[in-house]
């Protein structure tokens, strides 16, 4: 049996257990409602969940654009210029060690409990790993490659397009993977804490009235969002690999850097 089939069997087994165990009475429905009653609860309130999903997706999309766009831009600047690096990197690194969620109540004071405070929090949350990965990706480019390109008469813009960007792509993508996942976490967590809309808000509200099937329906939606995001990143990675025409060395480097980019919370 290959690892892939085994993995699929485990997932199918877990789904089956989710249905069987609560139904057979081994687990109280309050702790874990069966899969069918969870789906049922979600289906019955489809309008409410749909609206919540739209709010959450909107917040995730804006935060993702700010976090990834800003992270790559600032990371590229900090990675290629030593002066801003000396100035900014120690601050960013120590900020990264702080559990940023403590700032969220402050954001709600400044920006209210609507989408703005979620977007602000999730953007900063996802921005840091993206920026750090991009800076690392650009800093770790072999200077010999740039020298070689120069010896072949490459102009500055040719070096950027033909050497720096392709060499940095694998590390930037690994940063996007972590940063994007943190954006989703940031939005959902902040909705759960203080808010009036979104999936996180629904989960939190149904929890207070002990309506487990509705809580788990919200959990399922967040799960689906994370899986979709992961699939999107994989797709981009495949595209980039084709563009770079296969960079096993680069991907190895990305995997070496990825473990150092675990979030503080």
């Amino acid at each position: 049996m290959t690892a892939a089939t085994l993995r699929r069997l485990i997932v199918i087994g877990l789904i089956a257990l989710w249905e069987i165990l609560p139904r057979a009475g081994f687990i109280p429905e309050l702790f874990l409602p069966s899969l069918s009653s969870t789906l049922m609860a979600g289906w019955n309130e489809a309008g409410e969940y749909g609206h919540a999903l739209a709010v959450t997706l909107y917040e995730v999309a804006i935060s993702m654009a700010i976090a990834c766009g800003g992270g790559i831009l600032l990371g590229a600047i900090v990675g290629s210029l030593p002066r801003p690096r000396i100035l900014i990197m120690p601050m960013v690194s120590s900020l990264y060690a702080v559990p940023l969620v403590i700032l969220y109540p402050v954001f709600t004071v400044w920006l209210g409990i609507g989408s703005e405070s979620k977007i602000a929090f999730a953007s900063i949350y996802g921005f840091l790993p993206t920026m750090l990965a991009t800076a690392a990706g650009i800093q770790t480019i072999d200077p010999q490659l740039l020298l070689a390109a120069r010896s072949m008469g490459a102009t500055l813009s040719q070096r950027l397009v033909r050497v720096i960007i392709p060499a940095a792509i694998p590390t930037v993508l690994s940063g996007l993977r972590v940063g994007g996942a943190l954006v989703i976490v940031g939005v959902v967590v902040s909705e759960m804490l203080i808010s009036s809309a979104g999936i996180g808000y629904l989960i939190s509200r149904y929890r207070t009235i002990l309506d487990s099937p509705h809580v788990f329906a919200g959990v399922l939606l967040v799960l689906a969002m994370a899986i979709a995001f992961n699939a999107a990143i994989k797709w981009i990675e495949r595209k980039a690999a084709i563009w770079q025409t296969g960079t096993r060395a680069g991907q190895n480097a990305a995997e070496e850097i990825a473990p150092t980019l675990q979030p503080a919370t």
Binding site: L145, L147, R150, S151, M152, G153, Q244, T245, T247, G250
Partner: protein
Amino acid sequence: MQPLANITPLKPAGAIEVRNVGQIFKTTTQDVVALEDVSLDVKPGRFVVLVGPSGCGKSTLLMMMAGLRQQTSGTITISGAPIPEPDPNRVGVVFQEASLFPWLTAEENVEFPLALRRVSKSERRAKAQDALKLVGLDGFGKRHPHELSGGMKQRVSIARGLVQDPPVLLMDEPFAALDEQTRMTMGDELLRIWAATGKTVVFVTHSLTEAVYLADEVIVMSPRPGRIVDHLQVSLPRPRTYEMLSGDTFGTLRDRIWRHIRKSA
């Protein structure tokens, strides 16, 4: 009136002229004199090796011949004209680490300098094929650098240096990272390529054996400030063979270089 006085006499392609060249590195605390009053003539088609202890400025001199660095004083001309910036039509450069782009195939790496100049795809491919054939890598064009051995990578690197058919090939310790056996084989390969193409080669190395084995002329340099302390003609016949390594002429020449280097070490 002397109308002809200002016209530079035409130098044959591949001639290198170094006149009273000095190089001073400015650091925050002091100025380091890397090279002092270096003069040197390399005739077209000659194989010249620069040797000397670490820090004697031999690589610096090579980088200046490549237009990758500018001298503080004096002049350098390649084929009769100064070289204020890298010019792959006049000079090909091969570095110590093969410095191939890992995301490109061997073929695409060789095509790189042509792609920078927007040479048509078909012409690029044809020239890259010729260059790869010349270095003995016919049929390996589709491989990525990580699929090639150290020696093969350097062959690709040489092919890349030669693809625009420059009259001069500069090599900065190209075989230093290779094991002894590969190094010997690559030395013979380089001599074969040199004989086939008639390029002017300036080759920097630490290895005295390699220097005498490959060279028509060996230039010995002293450590900081780098100066030329000896200029030997290697009278050994071509083609060079492994048996010559144990001969008297070879030993005498190597000893003479060693005495210079030992004095300064």
